[in-house]
C-alpha cells in the first residue's frame, strides 16, 4: 500500500471518489493518534507500574523412591504458606542449583495447597537434570520454581481413555483422580517395561481397580492402546514420542474422535551445523552451535525479539537477511519471500562455518 498517498481509498461500488466513511475515519485517526499522551488520554501516572509476579522459592520437603529409578519429590513454601493453585495436567519448571531448567508434571492432589508433588525418572543419557534431582536434591535444598502452567488441560469429557507410557503417568494421575471425583466414565491403560519401573500403580488402583489396565513388558501398538475406546471417547495420551505417534496414527481407525496430548514446542534440531549470525552490518557476531537454533542465540542478545511456534510455520520471528546464504527449513515462506531475503531463524540455518548478516 502506498503510505504517502493522502487520499482515502475509493468507494466500494466503483464510483470515482474517495469513500466518505474512510475519509472520516482517516480524519478521526489523524486527530486521535497525536492526541494520545495528553491529559485525559494517557495512563494515569498515579496508578502502579506494571508488575511481574515473582517466581516461587520452594524447599524440598520429601524425596523418596516410588519405583525403580523414579523418585518422588515434594516441594513446599519454606514458611509453610499456601501455594498457587493448579489444575490437572499442569507442570512446574524447576531451576536446579546447577542452573539447568526442567519441566515436570504435577502428580499430587490439586486440593493440597501446602505442597507440590512431582516424580522424576533417572535418565542415564539425558542432560544431567534428572541425575541432579536424584543425587543432589536432598531435603532442605531450595529451588526457584515457576508458577504452575498447563499444557495438557483436562476438559472433563463424559467418556475418557487415559493412555500412560512409563513416567508419562504423572499428569494422568490427577486427571484420573478428577475424573473419579466427578463420576466420569474413565479407563486408564498404563504401559511400562516392568512392574517395578512403573510408579503409582497402587495409587491408581486405589481409585478404582476395575478402571486400570496394565500392559507390562512389551511395547503395545496404537490399535492395542485404543482397544477400549468407544464412540465419543476422549483420549488423553502421555508417554514417549513413539507411543504418541502410534496413537495418532491409529486414531482414525478407532471410534474415538478426540486426542489430547502435551505439545512440546521445539523439535530437536536434526543435522544442524555450527554457523554464525551477525546483528546488522556493523553489529556483533554470535556463534550458533549445531544443537541450538539461531533464534535461541539471537534472543540472548535481543530478549524482545518476537517468536512463537519454534517450528517454522507461524512466521512471527521473520527477519531479513542482508548477506549470506541461508539454509531454509521453514514451511511458511514462499520462494519469492525467500528470494527477497526473508528468514525464519527459529528453524533455518546456514552451511557449516557460514555467516548470515541479519537486519536487526
Amino acid at each position: 500500500m502506498d503510505r504517502t498517498n493522502p487520499q482515502a481509498p475509493p468507494d466500494l461500488y466503483g464510483r470515482p471518489q474517495a469513500d466518505p466513511f474512510m475519509r472520516r475515519l482517516t480524519a478521526f485517526g489523524d486527530r486521535y493518534t497525536p492526541a494520545l499522551g495528553s491529559r485525559g488520554l494517557r495512563r494515569n501516572p498515579r496508578l502502579p507500574a506494571p508488575r511481574a509476579l515473582p517466581a516461587l522459592v520452594l524447599v524440598v520437603t520429601g524425596h523418596r523412591p516410588v519405583a525403580e529409578d523414579v523418585v518422588e519429590l515434594r516441594l513446599a513454601d519454606p514458611s509453610g504458606g499456601v501455594l498457587p493453585g493448579w489444575q490437572p495436567g499442569a507442570h512446574l519448571r524447576l531451576t536446579l542449583p546447577s542452573g539447568r531448567e526442567r519441566h515436570y508434571s504435577l502428580c499430587g492432589d490439586p486440593a493440597d495447597r501446602t505442597s507440590y508433588r512431582i516424580a522424576v525418572r533417572r535418565l542415564a543419557d539425558g542432560g544431567g537434570g534428572s541425575r541432579e534431582i536424584h543425587d543432589e536434591l536432598h531435603l532442605g535444598v531450595r529451588l526457584t520454581v515457576r508458577r504452575p502452567r498447563n499444557g495438557f488441560p483436562f476438559c472433563g469429557e463424559q467418556r475418557l481413555l487415559l493412555l500412560a507410557g512409563g513416567i508419562g503417568v504423572t499428569p494422568l494421575l490427577p486427571i484420573a483422580r478428577e475424573a473419579q471425583r466427578r463420576g466420569l466414565d474413565w479407563h486408564l491403560v498404563y504401559a511400562g517395561r516392568t512392574l517395578a519401573t512403573m510408579p503409582f500403580v497402587e495409587e491408581l488402583r486405589a481409585l478404582a481397580p476395575e478402571r486400570v489396565t496394565l500392559l507390562v513388558g512389551r511395547i503395545p501398538s496404537g490399535a492395542e492402546l485404543l482397544e477400549s475406546a468407544r464412540p465419543g471417547s476422549a483420549v488423553y495420551c502421555c508417554g514417549p514420542a513413539p507411543m504418541l505417534a502410534a496413537v495418532q496414527r491409529a486414531l482414525d481407525e478407532s471410534p474415538a474422535g478426540t486426542l489430547h496430548f502435551e505439545r512440546f514446542a521445539a523439535a530437536p534440531i536434526t543435522d544442524g551445523k555450527p554457523f554464525t549470525v551477525q546483528l546488522g552490518a556493523d553489529g556483533p557476531t554470535l556463534d550458533v552451535p549445531a544443537d541450538r537454533s539461531a533464534l535461541d542465540v539471537l534472543r540472548e542478545a535481543r530478549p524482545d525479539l518476537p517468536y512463537s511456534c519454534h517450528q517454522g510455520f507461524c512466521g512471527t520471528c521473520r527477519l531479513h537477511v542482508l548477506s549470506g546464504t541461508p539454509e531454509h527449513r521453514d514451511r511458511r515462506l514462499t520462494s519469492e519471500e525467500r528470494a527477497d531475503g526473508a528468514l525464519l531463524p527459529c528453524v533455518s540455518r546456514a552451511a557449516e562455518g557460514d555467516r548470515l548478516v541479519l537486519d536487526i
Partner: protein, 297 residues
C-alpha cells in the same frame, strides 16, 4: 463434538501455542450454507476482516512486547501472536477462493488495508510518550475486539443450526477451530491491557471506539459481498430483520445478544474468563480434523 461432563470451569495458566492447520478449499461452494446467501456472506465478512485485522493485532502486540514485565504474560502474548498469524493466513486463503469463484473482494480489502496500515498503523514523528500511549491504546482496541471474537467463537462452537443447514464441513471446522482458539486465548489481550494500564477509562475507550467501528465494518462488508456476488446480482438485500430471522434459525449469532455482550465488557468486574468455556474449546481443538492433522506435520 464430545460432551463435556460438568459445568464449564475456568482453566488457569494455559500454555498457548499456534497450530499448523491447513484447509482445502477446492470444493467449497460459493454459498457454503446451502440456499442461505445472506447468512453465508454475513459470516464471510470474517474472511474480509480477519486477515488484515489479525495481522494488525500481531504488529500491535510485537510493539507491546518490550513494555511487558511479566514472564508468563509475555509467553502468553507470544503464543497469541502465533495463533493470530495462522488465523490471518487461513482466512486469506478463503478470500483467494472467493476471487476464483468470481466474487472480487479486493475493493473492500483495499479499504481495510488503509484502515489498519494507515489510520491505525505506526506513525512517524510522535514523541516517545505519544508512541507508548498509542501502543497501549491499540492494545485496548484489540482487547475490546477480542471480547467479540471470543463471543463469536463461543457461538461457533455452539451452533447446531449450521450443522442442520448442512453447511460445508471444512468451513465449519475453520470457524470452530478459529473460534476455539479465540476462546482459548480470550484473556490474553485483556490481561495485557490491564498490565500496561489498569485504568477503567482505557478499557471503556477501547470498546467505545472499536465496538461501533466493528459493527459498521461488518454491515458494510455484508452489503458489499451481497452486491459483489455474481450469482445474486443484487437480489438479496441485507437488513437487521433478515439477520434476526437467520439468528432464530441458528445460522447467525443474535444481533441483540451480541450487543448485550458488548455491554457486559463495560461492567467494572468484567473478566474475559466469564464468557465461554475453555473446556469446550480445548475439547474441540482435540477433535477438529484440521487441528488433529496439524500435529502430525
Amino acid at each position: 463434538m464430545p460432551g463435556t461432563g460438568s459445568a464449564p470451569e475456568v482453566h488457569d495458566n494455559l500454555v498457548l501455542e499456534p497450530r499448523d492447520v491447513r484447509f482445502d478449499w477446492s470444493r467449497l461452494p460459493l454459498h457454503w450454507i446451502p440456499d442461505e446467501p445472506f447468512a453465508t456472506h454475513t459470516i464471510n465478512v470474517l474472511h474480509l476482516l480477519l486477515p488484515e485485522g489479525e495481522r494488525w493485532f500481531v504488529r500491535v502486540f510485537k510493539e507491546a512486547l518490550p513494555l511487558i514485565t511479566d514472564e508468563q504474560l509475555r509467553e502468553e502474548v507470544l503464543g497469541f501472536i502465533g495463533q493470530e498469524a495462522i488465523h490471518a493466513q487461513a482466512h486469506e486463503e478463503v478470500l483467494e477462493h472467493l476471487l476464483a469463484q468470481g466474487l472480487d473482494p479486493r475493493p473492500y480489502v483495499r479499504q481495510l488495508e488503509w484502515l489498519f496500515q494507515r489510520v491505525l498503523g505506526e506513525r512517524p514523528g510522535l514523541s516517545a510518550r505519544a508512541r507508548r500511549e498509542n501502543v497501549i491504546e491499540r492494545v485496548a482496541f484489540v482487547a475490546a475486539i477480542e471480547h467479540f471474537t471470543a463471543f463469536l467463537g463461543n457461538w461457533a462452537l455452539n451452533s447446531p443450526g449450521l450443522d442442520r443447514a448442512q453447511a460445508d464441513p471444512t468451513m465449519l471446522d475453520l470457524l470452530r477451530w478459529h473460534g476455539a482458539e479465540e476462546v482459548e486465548h480470550r484473556s490474553v489481550a485483556y490481561d495485557l491491557m490491564v498490565h500496561l494500564d489498569p485504568g477503567y477509562l482505557r478499557r471503556i475507550r477501547g470498546m467505545v471506539v472499536s465496538g461501533p467501528l466493528l459493527v459498521r465494518l461488518w454491515v458494510r462488508g455484508v452489503r458489499f459481498l451481497l452486491a459483489a456476488d455474481p450469482t445474486l446480482r443484487g437480489r438479496v438485500r441485507p437488513s437487521w430483520r433478515a439477520a434476526r430471522a437467520a439468528a432464530l434459525r441458528g445460522m447467525l449469532p443474535d444481533p441483540v445478544q451480541s450487543l448485550r455482550s458488548g455491554l457486559r465488557y463495560l461492567k467494572p468486574g468484567y473478566h474475559p474468563t466469564q464468557e465461554g468455556s475453555s473446556a469446550q474449546a480445548l475439547s474441540y481443538l482435540a477433535t477438529s480434523p484440521a487441528a488433529r492433522a496439524a500435529v502430525t506435520r
